[in-house]
Symmetry: C2
Subunit: 276 residues, 2 copies
């Protein structure tokens, strides 16, 4: 998917919402546990209930790997279900990988070819040859960690370099040269709204994936008004406060309700700024 | 396993060799492809042929994930095979994970509880709360990227911070405070032998996992003499030049021969420095 197609989907759905499928086996309703792949069943019901309100889903690999091979099968079933039924959805593997070139090629094969994700999240610590193999795929995206939403972002990302920039600024400035705004995005946490303006000076045209709304406490309006560009330029992820809005077997009704609330806020922001 | 137990194994086997199980489905002998889990069969034969010569194995997750659920099953079978038959082996999940706390807890569960690895490799970019959940397990190890062996290590790891240190020095100095020398190691590439002396000033007592010998070109002797400590303090990983020493169906004989060569070099170095 190109950034133009992604923006078209955002305008059509009046939403830049990404739902994080951090599906925890221990939190899904007991009624699903009789199914052969309960995590897939949960995801399917979340997807069916929200697909018209979102532009992206983002399964978090850790939640699937913690279930071993059965988890991996649930992940495959989820990706295939979306690909078959909702081809316009942008699918992100939240994997935060980062390794030497031949290993990165293997991960790229896993996420882009076998699983048909559109994008994968990557950690920049190992540098260019750890990112390059992902950029070699046409119509696929590398979403590189810039400034994350967690407390630990202070430890290294917000350290000053000898050029008196923050490390995350150096990362974004350097990594943007390796790809284009049609194959590279950056992760910037919603808890760092005050940093969006300076980040936009470095990457005016790139999409930014924004976690940290909802359970982690970031403000959607602050993030949007500091971070949007003329193609929206933001995918805002919400995980727990949508998928666990209700833990009974009626969970998808509450998930849809929550997603509608986010979509309505997003529609309002897109209207206020003249993007739709 | 404690660092004392690891050192005891090193002395007993006169080896600090770790074999990287970067098992590529496309490189294993055709004769194995009839088996239900060819990657496991390959690993089993490598392990049987080398277990008396090594102290550790390090499966690289990318190679298993690129095969989907079948790859994950091969990984489980490999870990279970080692655990059952060779309980003294130190097992490293080369995963290079790094995510927010609740996600890290899921990965820790996947690698330490379900799969019974002793250690997992981690990327430090997201800071303390991305590492902490792994450190909460007793007798398990976090192996954090310091200075890696690839060309891309120049891009960020070797950037100077405002305190005129390299970023990797800042990472090692900071991360060592989060754990102890009994639950934390660092990755330092063999291609950076000139850096081992300054790194040893920061972490005199920690174990260091050293990739980059063999296919990547680092020198075992240079690394050892610059980096060893009074408990050896080094695990040197070799992957491709052992497991693909021969690509015929007699591969394990050549793999054993290569592993003997490394063990003999290591034994010699341990003798020269009075560690055995």
């Amino acid at each position: 998917m190109t950034s133009e197609e992604l923006f078209r989907n955002i305008k059509r759905k009046t939403s830049f919402l990404c739902v994080g499928l951090d599906t925890d086996f221990n939190k899904i309703p007991k009624a699903l546990l009789d199914k052969p792949y309960p995590v897939f069943e949960f995801n399917k019901r979340i997807i069916d209930a929200t697909e018209d309100l979102v532009v992206a889903y983002k399964p978090n690999l850790a939640f699937y790997e913690s279930l071993g091979a059965a988890g991996w099968i649930s992940l495959e079933m989820t990706v295939n279900y979306v690909r078959k039924n909702f081809p316009d959805i942008f699918l992100i593997a939240d994997a935060k990988r980062g390794d030497i070139g031949n290993t990165s090629s293997m991960y790229a094969n896993a996420f882009f070819r076998n699983l048909e994700f559109d994008a994968v999240t990557l950690s920049p610590y190992m540098g260019r040859d750890s990112i390059q193999p992902y950029l070699e795929y046409t119509n696929k995206w590398s979403i590189v960690l810039g400034l994350t939403s967690n407390a630990g972002s202070r430890d290294f990302q917000q350290k000053k370099t000898s050029e008196k920039k923050f490390l995350f600024e150096d990362v974004i400035t350097t990594v943007k040269e390796w790809g284009t705004e049609n194959n590279t995005m950056f992760v910037v946490g919603a808890t760092k709204a005050e940093q969006f303006k300076s980040i936009r000076k470095i990457i005016p045209d790139h999409f930014i994936l924004v976690p940290g709304i909802g359970a982690q406490g970031g403000s959607l309006e602050d993030v949007f008004l500091s971070g949007y560009n003329d193609r929206c330029g933001l995918l805002v992820n919400v995980s727990r406060s949508i998928i666990y809005a209700d833990v009974t077997n009626r969970f998808e009704i509450s998930a849809r309700q929550k997603a509608i609330e986010y979509r309505d806020q997003m529609e309002n922001l897109l209207l206020r700024t003249g993007l739709i």
